[in-house]
């Protein structure tokens, strides 16, 4: 590994990390604004033009808040849990391609941090480690509601991970590769949402459950569990959970775009811009879902995951296998 490669890697890591950290306040702003309008309110508008600086102000407020450590909590795990959440979310970000290659300073630069040949497995691994952040956060607080929230989310995330993973296998079978880069490249002519429509629907539903977003936000159901797993967290620890949730939204949207919606491909505009447009659309879709659906009951959630999504994803897998074999 020569110096130029090293510099390229460091720059790319910083660009992506910077993008995430800048994008999260904007997404939060968008969420509040869109939710507001959908609920016939106007949302934030006092801080900055159109209330754009509202989330920055909230961020500064969170920095200034007292960092409360519950006296009966498990100190080490209490500190570790938010860190696990954010680290796994950011680690998953490294394999998502946001464009093909560009020529810069006489070097061909691939628009992704790294292209491992088992990218999809890496992603699934990172999300399955992300469960720990929530479960441990709930447990370490040593308090009733967070524990219940943590347990709920661990069961929920393990259940939906299965259907999510299986829904991606159809795409893997078509391309014959686990690399997100090659999956993205294979969709130059036809987006995989066409042949794999059911898998796409299953993936999107599961990804909402994986990120603990409404209507699957059982882990933090405020009507019954105060704030769920992060009830006891304050200041920047709470902010890290918040950051991890939005970073995870970007990760699952990025995977959905790369695997089903043609990745960075699109007419006229350059690749990264198309990726950005699709990402914005997906995040808007998430907010739209939140404004539309009421929260599921817990047993409904589990029954839906195991009795509807999992068999459906297996059926889709079998159908894809038969189709590919017949086609030859």
């Amino acid at each position: 590994m020569d110096l130029a490669t090293l510099i390229e890697a460091v720059v790319k890591v910083h660009v992506v990390l910077g993008f995430v950290l800048v994008a999260v306040p904007l997404i939060v702003w968008m969420e509040r604004k869109v939710l507001g309008h959908m609920q016939d309110r106007i949302g934030p508008q006092r801080v900055g033009p159109f209330g754009l600086l509202q989330t920055i102000a909230d961020g500064i407020k969170l920095f200034m808040k007292e960092d409360i450590l519950p006296s009966q909590s498990d100190k080490v795990v209490y500190f570790l849990a938010p860190a696990i959440s954010i680290v796994t979310a950011l680690a998953a970000m490294t394999v998502i391609p946001f464009g093909d290659t560009v020529w810069l300073f006489g070097r061909e630069i691939a628009l992704r941090i790294t292209d491992v040949n088992i990218a999809i497995l890496f992603l699934l691994g990172a999300t399955s480690m992300g469960v720990y952040g929530i479960v441990l956060g709930g447990w370490a607080s040593n308090s009733k509601y967070p524990l219940l929230g943590g347990l709920r989310s661990s069961a929920q995330m393990i259940s939906y991970e299965l259907a999510q993973g299986i829904s991606l296998i159809g795409v893997i079978m078509i391309t014959g590769s686990l690399s997100l880069n090659e999956i993205g490249r294979a969709q130059e002519k036809l987006w995989f949402v066409v042949p794999q429509f059911f898998a796409f629907v299953i993936y999107v539903v599961c990804s909402v459950a994986e990120t603990n977003r409404a209507p699957f936000d059982l882990a933090e159901a405020e009507t019954e569990l105060v704030a769920g797993f992060h009830t006891e967290f304050s200041s920047m620890k709470f902010a890290l959970y918040f950051l991890a949730e939005y970073a995870n939204m970007m990760v699952v949207s990025g995977v959905a775009i790369t695997c089903f919606l043609g990745g960075w491909h699109g007419p006229l505009l350059p690749g990264p811009l198309w990726f950005f447009i699709k990402l914005t659309f997906f995040l808007f879709f998430y907010i739209w879902l939140r404004a539309t659906f009421p929260r599921l009951r817990y047993d409904q959630l589990m029954a839906f995951g195991w009795k509807v999504l999992l068999p459906a994803s297996l059926l889709n897998l079998a159908a894809t296998a038969v189709f590919l074999t017949v086609k030859g």
């Binding site: 498990d74 080490v76 795990v77 491992v116 040949n117 088992i118 497995l121 890496f122 699934l124 691994g125 399955s128 480690m129 469960v131 720990y132 479960v135 441990l136 447990w139 524990l147 943590g150 347990l151 661990s154 069961a155 393990i158 991970e161 686990l178």
Partner: protein, 170 residues
């Protein structure tokens, strides 16, 4: 050089965490340290060019099985340890099993390698070694029968779990 340094780091973390699993009093901490062991073993797998096995190690063991462990430990909410055996008996069994494993390890280490193994060591790795495709090919050709038997075993376990879960307790 760099690889052996990484190996030392991963092996060190694995051993440290493993010792922690044994000596720590809090069951949740033990489970977490076990996750640490599994993750560092996954790191060692990657050093051996077995990326696919490493990914499975993280997804299946560290990600799914250990979460279930943790789930059960949290639900039971064990404070400190609940001894299954008397301390004396536990120590006796512990020493016995540790001795068996130790003797096995020594025996494997001093055993001269068989002719076939030596040949395998001398060959360079194929280009796609450890990739999902290569592993799948071997699994469905050379090791087909053991693979299918394992799947039957898993099926039996699934049926057993369903039967146990459906049983009425009254």
């Amino acid at each position: 050089m760099f690889e052996s340094l990484l190996f030392a780091v991963f092996a060190g973390i694995a051993i440290g965490c493993a010792l922690g699993v044994v000596f720590h009093r809090n069951p949740v901490h033990c489970a977490l340290l076990l996750v640490g062991v599994l993750l560092s073993v996954a790191g060692i797998f990657i050093l051996l060019h077995a990326q696919f096995v490493a990914a499975l190690q993280v997804i299946v063991y560290a990600g799914a099985i250990m979460v279930l462990f943790l789930f059960v430990v949290m639900l039971l909410n064990i404070k400190g340890e609940t001894p299954l055996l008397t301390p004396g008996a536990a120590k006796g069994f512990g020493f016995l099993f540790a001795l068996i494993v130790f003797v096995e390890l020594i025996w494997t280490a001093v055993q001269p390698a068989a002719e076939g193994q030596r040949m395998a060591e001398a060959l360079p790795l194929p280009a796609d070694f450890g990739s999902p495709a290569a592993l799948g090919r071997v699994l469905y050709t050379v090791w087909l029968y053991p693979f299918e038997i394992t799947s039957i075993l898993l099926l039996v376990a699934v049926v057993g779990a369903v039967v146990l879960a459906k049983r009425k307790f009254f």
